[in-house]
Assembly symmetry: C2
Amino acid sequence: MSEVYAVRRGLLRDRCAAVGSAAALVSRPANVHYLAGGAPPGAVLLLGPDEDVLLCPRPPTGDLAEGRTDERLRVDRLSVTGGDPVVAAADLAASHGAESLAVEEHDLTVARHRAMGAVAPKLRLADLGVTVEQLRIVKDEEEIGCLRIAAEITDQALGELLESILVGRTERHLALELERRLVDHGADGPAFATSVATGPNSGRGRHRPSDRRVEEGDFLSVRLGANYRGYRCEIGRTFVIGTAPADWQIELYDLVFAAQRAGREALVPGAAYRDVDRAARQLLDSAGHSEGLTPRTGHGVGLEIDEDPQLAPDAMGKLDACVPVTVEPGVHLPGRGGVRIDDTLVVRPEADGGPELLTITTKELLAL
Amino acid sequence: MSEVYAVRRGLLRDRCAAVGSAAALVSRPANVHYLAGGAPPGAVLLLGPDEDVLLCPRPPTGDLAEGRTDERLRVDRLSVTGGDPVVAAADLAASHGAESLAVEEHDLTVARHRAMGAVAPKLRLADLGVTVEQLRIVKDEEEIGCLRIAAEITDQALGELLESILVGRTERHLALELERRLVDHGADGPAFATSVATGPNSGRGRHRPSDRRVEEGDFLSVRLGANYRGYRCEIGRTFVIGTAPADWQIELYDLVFAAQRAGREALVPGAAYRDVDRAARQLLDSAGHSEGLTPRTGHGVGLEIDEDPQLAPDAMGKLDACVPVTVEPGVHLPGRGGVRIDDTLVVRPEADGGPELLTITTKELLAL
């Protein structure tokens, strides 16, 4: 169980050695979590040359302090640094004879990078780039298990909301209630800020819940997800409030539903990211909704809610099996509202039954 | 009303000119908010040479898109960049003839800094340092007004919780309920993750709420705050559950209360940061609690929940009037729990009545 982290660090060590660095410093929190089984606030991970050390700016509290994460946090040593742990790491690496240290230049600020150079002027600072992010794209079955539980929790929270009375309640309150229900069902927290959008706001991807109240005849779109042991999933659904959807609502819903299904069906190992995007996008495009489409129709999920791959027109690369992604096309008509349908799925070979749908709440157009 | 932002940008422009840069790029979100009246996700602010431009990676949504923040967001121009807005800003500054551009090296990553250099190789990138953070330390009365409302909301949320039944409920649920009540009373959201700590967890500054349930005889410590129009305050209180606190609980409470009062009373214009810290700290030290004390006993608040000044033993500087700070000493006894008392106050001259207490919930030891 704890060996999985040592294996991951071994893979990273191999990649570093291949580019001539015997030591690496990982500072991006999700990357630290991936390699060490946990990431106390501000902690960074120094790999090699002699040992793997988790450096923390202050003593960890909670589970970690009480040893309750022994199973999950496995490094050779934990060091409390007081000051900035990246500076302490540069000092430590230099004092152990490292000549070069690969760092995450996309995460480290210029000021911290400079402070590392000042404390260890002979240490050459190389760029680790997005090596760890690349390792994270394909998930193992334990990670997928966490995502599956996150999705179950999310479906439960959403299902309960649908049974309650919605008319007259504000977007803000509905969003808070969804977040409370996520935690009730065992989430460590929401995976991201829950979005509830009603009427003219509906169908917007990242609408911030307002004080607008749900009215008869509204579209209601929600987007939420649970964080379970660090793993984050996402679901988005659009409903109609009242007994009879208007014709334009049914038409728009059917269109987005068809686009989302096309995107889901394009999820096969070996498919180009841009082809998955196009599968979902072209239906909306040809229906005249190319204006105002989001720049991508899906993305990877895992320890962050927004990871590679990006399912977008200019994305480079192909899907592998065991990559969890969202498929989330939507259309928003200014002043009227819109529809967004969003699932989290895992890419699987055809022989294994094709893409595994994690978020199973119905995608029929429900009138609530 | 909107001129306040132009005045702030004028001050920053003067400081830049003084160090030889006709243009500056502000990327830290709270700094962008301070200078532009709002900060859409990922937006950066380019000051000069000819105009002040807010560069956004994608079209802003919500209030901003619908022009509802006209009163609050005032720049010369808003530009949607598609790619990374700091790169677009470097390009724009160079094309307008700027020779040097001051950037926030403590915010920009090495990778973004390099990308700016690549797009505008003749542009000299200087360091703006924490110039904007320094401008932010002393607040104007409008900012203090926002903090005052944030504190009122926080007091209301906490007051309601105290009227409800606590025994048997989990830390996690109490924290969620507090956050819901903050929003009920008009907060834009919690100012930071609400902490609820019971029994052996109590008294820890940043305890993450767990599934532990409140029990008779527990200390219960809470730490919460509202975000109102971007301004964030903080309150911390410790209660005892049941009818009769134990002697050790009363003794510890009285000690922390005295330390917190000493800290509050030390808040006068001209007082050294470290002297305020010492006023609170020395009572705890001399009672034998120097082990495990937090490294600081307070800090500034404003657009971020943790700003300068730092009230700590090695902090350099002196308090000005109109600086809002927290005073929050605490003691945690491993295995038993502890006490933390935390207020947000504004430094005011003696002639104006001394420090203005924003968070007014009682600090008597309540038995709930």
